[in-house]
Amino acid sequence: MRYAIFLGCAIPIKYPGFEAVTRLVCERLGIELVDLPFSCCPPSTSLKLVHYDSWLALAARNICLAEEQGLDILTLCSGCVNTLKEANHVLKQNEGKRRRINRILEDSNHCFQGSVNVTHILDVLYQDSVVEKIIKEKVRDVPLRIGCHYGCHYFRPPKVMYPNELSDAESYVPVRMDHLLSIIGVEPIEYSRKFLCCGSPLGANIDLEAGYAITRQKLGYIQERDIQAVSVICPSCFEQFDMGQIVLAKKSKDRIKTPIFYLTQLIGLAFGLSPKDVGLDVHRVKARKLLEETSIGW
């Protein structure tokens, strides 16, 4: 199993620990990762809103790099997977747009063919053959009660992100993270408005306070249940919940109490890696006390 790994911006720059643990986990699972000179994805929350053609052209360039190596793209971020999957979808379907974008790319010797697929680390880990390997590599349970947060862009719009798995209402309700975590001994907990946005794009683009108001709402729904920690698959959602709790505590004396994990950090813990090996030491909301109460320790 071989993929071009698409790191994006937030992970290698702000949260390199997620990159490091993902590489370790993939190595243990026999998933080969190839690094290519990718640029920013670019986000559907910024450049796409400002100038659609620029967004599509840069995304197409990234896809072309993988096409030229004959590799599918593995992303680690709900934003990156949204941009690259949608661009891939649009360019495969729409001949006019494909021609227009290829004219833009011809000076840099790229030509979009539509020959590869874009996927997310969660979907790669969820494949049957990989799940079998996870069960084999697992050396301990991660006995935590966890609420999953998928990130809106991971699965919406469903007709682009999961066209073959739509419900009767042409919608898609993600469950893969909950299922995957239950394999490593986690107890996934449901909570109200599980698919509410984290607030990050609103805060980043225009109104920081309003963005954190959504974060506060969402944390409220999480904390009213018996949830010890949250698992995410997107660095922007992570920052919004992790840094967000610090910001909200300063502003309104909310208690800082819910550690946030990136999915592969939890898998890494189950593979026997230490909390420091999986990069938990740099999180703002500390997981130390929580883990010391379990068999994992710190």
């Binding site: 000179p37 946005c197 959504i214």
Partner: protein, 154 residues
């Protein structure tokens, strides 16, 4: 600056599919915390007042881009395409939030969405090699040819 042909990106006829049920607005997270139009009012304004009135207002930007509106729409109106087209038009007219303009300028100048600072130390802490620089010249050439300078100078 010339405006974009907004109805080329979103079929104007689709606006008439909307029966103003407000499922979209009822599920919009931005509506709960900010004085946003919400999708229902956006569609109504486009129909009643013309899209110019929407794109000249800075509230057009109060959105999480979470796409839940389109997901809940019983008429399956491609609301997200409409919102992207409206904001592209707003940006073309110079209506673009300062924070977002700075983010796009950074992207155009560095090929990344984040400022790279003290990066090598942080990456080394996790046992990673430094991140190679993005191929800025190639990216700028693509962005110029795509026409980004119509909106942002870089």
């Amino acid at each position: 600056m010339t405006d974009i042909k907004i109805w080329k990106h979103f079929n104007r006829e689709s606006l008439y599919e909307c029966y103003q049920c407000a499922r979209c607005t009822g599920s919009c997270p931005a509506m709960e915390v900010a004085p946003a139009f919400g999708p229902r009012e956006t569609i109504l304004k486009c129909l009643g007042l013309g899209h110019e009135r929407v794109v000249e207002d800075e509230r057009v930007w109060l959105c999480c881009t979470c796409n839940v509106c389109e997901d809940r729409c019983p008429q399956k109106i491609p609301i997200c395409d409409l919102l992207v087209a409206l904001r592209n038009s707003a940006a073309r007219r110079g209506n673009i939030p300062g924070r977002l303009a700075m983010a796009v300028e950074l992207l155009a100048k560095t090929g990344r969405s984040m400022i790279v600072h003290q990066l090598d130390g942080m990456r080394a802490h996790h046992g990673l090699a430094p991140l190679p620089a993005a191929p800025v010249d190639e990216l700028r050439k693509i962005l110029r040819k795509a026409g980004l300078q119509q909106v942002i100078e870089f």
